[in-house]
Amino acid sequence: MSISLEGRGLHRSFGGFKALDGVDIAVEAGQIRGLIGPNGAGKSTLIDVLSGRADNWGGQIYLRGEEVTGLKVHERRRRGLARSFQRTNIFPALAVGTQLTVAARALGNEGLDDVVEALSLGHLLDRPAQQISYGDQRRLDLALALVGRPEVLLLDEPAAGLTVEESLQLAAILRDLVKKWGVTVLIVEHDMEVIFSICDRITVLHLGKVLVDDLPDAIKTNPEVISAYLGSQAP
């Protein structure tokens, strides 16, 4: 399998604290890769570095083998590197349909109706985003990341704030859509049910370093992972 997204020697510090300390990660095309670890392990920082949101970081990033290290956020997005956010990050006063249309003008409308249908946003297109429910806003955040059928999707806790039922439902929708489109996914999520239900492979971060990188079944039983993070959470 070819590598869709690769980070080499990624590091970022906040003062004396090393949030990322030489992280290497390579995600195969079409794979759903989970990224787990305790708070402060560097998961969101890694997503920020890969997506271009972070500044003052080091290392190299490759998208389909092409270096994107020096590219800005919008340039990475136009090359197919999309992301969603831990805190809902939408356009509050704009109608749902308007914001998806604005995104599609930059990224193309391939699969746009599929996204709207899969995420059940069709009946909300005329509603300002600030007037829809939190769960709908989370799905809109995800839809904005899926516009243009990205090559790689970085998801930072897409199920944050959702109920268990909503989380599993979202996970199933995500799995079906990205598998249908062949999108490569790197997902940060604290809900282990979501992670183990959709991921092909899992990377565990601890203190800014890769602790383990393995198949889900092996992760569940890995003593280092259980000790550092999973504890009794392994499903």
Binding site: V73, R83, F91, P92, A93, V102, D126, G148
Partner: protein
């Protein structure tokens, strides 16, 4: 958008039929408004009132420029008078010093401030909040200090009268200083600007700038660079401010450093807030209300600025979307009622 859409990629006839009819309605309303402006001097017998209305419309154009910045960029400017002043000064100095023909001077008076603002916008339009407001104040006051102290340019703080040539673009320039003919001119320009801004707001570019205003970061994460659209809005806003400054100079035949002063920028901002900057015609309405409110308050007391301040407080607290927001809120139930009756 149309009634109950479920597809964003449906062909025309579904989602796209709405904007076309909306644009026709807009153009029809604009034609009626222009006709009313042309008829006004024939209906109003008082030359004083026509003159006051002409000055009020110039203020309305200026306030509209400030409103555009707030509405499309989400930015507050305390330096918009810089472009108002440049519109007047570039024209006046160009013809007084014989730098350009009067016609070319008119073009330069609106093009140069637009370019200056666009270039400034590339730097300062992306800076949010208080820092942006302070930068605009600094830029505006820098221009003020230059024209105030540079006596050789236009008599410094004394200002300078502007002698118009006999004709401009083949028309008798006297009509620019006659209230009865100037009122329809400035009114038509205002209507054209409002129509232009409305069409722009409905266009893909307008939707993009609103998205950037709402969430700059997310706009980047859907594939857009955000600095350039902000700078374009900055330029468009300065263009309108320069048009207002030029019209005032043509009408009054006089320029002074006060055209650049921050208090003028502040007053334009108050006009925009009172009218309601979220609605395109709101700032113009605010300017109209404040122009005549100042007149009445000035007759009543020498402390009239305090009354303007009280008005601003009351509007901010009770009408956060300004008088235009109030008018729209009142109109929505009426439109629903009319729609219900029609169906």
């Amino acid at each position: 958008m149309s009634g109950n859409p479920t597809s964003l990629t449906a062909p025309a006839g579904g989602r796209d039929s709405g904007p076309l009819s909306r644009n026709w309605r807009l153009l029809t309303a604009a034609a009626v408004a222009v006709a009313a402006g042309i008829a006004a001097p024939h209906v109003i017998s008082s030359v004083l009132w026509i003159s006051l209305l002409t000055q009020a419309v110039v203020d309305m154009i200026f306030a509209t420029s400030v409103g555009l910045l707030v509405r499309q960029n989400g930015r507050i400017s305390f330096g918009q008078a810089a472009f108002f002043g440049l519109g007047g000064y570039i024209f006046a100095v160009s013809i007084a010093r014989e730098i350009a023909t009067p016609e070319l001077a008119i073009i330069l008076a609106v093009v140069l401030p637009t370019l200056i603002a666009f270039l400034l916008g590339l730097i300062i339009a992306r800076i949010p909040g208080v820092a942006h407001a302070m930068l605009t104040l600094a830029v505006g006051q820098a221009f003020y200090e230059v024209v105030f102290k540079w006596r050789e340019l236009a008599n410094g703080d004394d200002g300078m009268s502007v002698a118009l040539p006999r004709t401009l673009f083949g028309f008798d320039s006297g009509m620019l200083q006659t209230p009865g003919s100037m009122l329809p001119i400035v009114w038509t320009i205002l209507v054209m600007i409002l129509v232009g801004f409305t069409l722009m707001a409905r266009s893909p570019f307008g939707q993009l700038t609103e998205a950037i205003r709402e969430n700059d970061e997310r706009a980047q994460f859907i594939g857009y660079t955000t600095t350039l659209p902000r700078a374009v809005i900055y330029g468009a806003s300065a263009f309108v401010a320069a048009v207002a400054g030029l019209l005032q100079t043509l009408y009054n035949g006089y320029i002074s450093p006060d055209m650049f002063h921050w208090s003028l920028s502040g007053m334009a901002l108050i006009m925009a807030i009172v009218g309601g900057p979220k609605i395109i015609w709101g700032p113009a309405l605010g300017a109209f209300i404040l122009f005549f409110f100042k007149d009445v308050a000035g007759d009543a007391t020498e402390y009239w600025p305090a009354l303007v301040g009280i008005m601003l407080i009351v509007v901010t607290l009770l009408l956060p979307e300004g008088f235009a927001g109030l008018a729209e809120r009142t109109d929505v139930p009426l439109r629903r009622l009319r729609k219900g009756r029609a169906s």
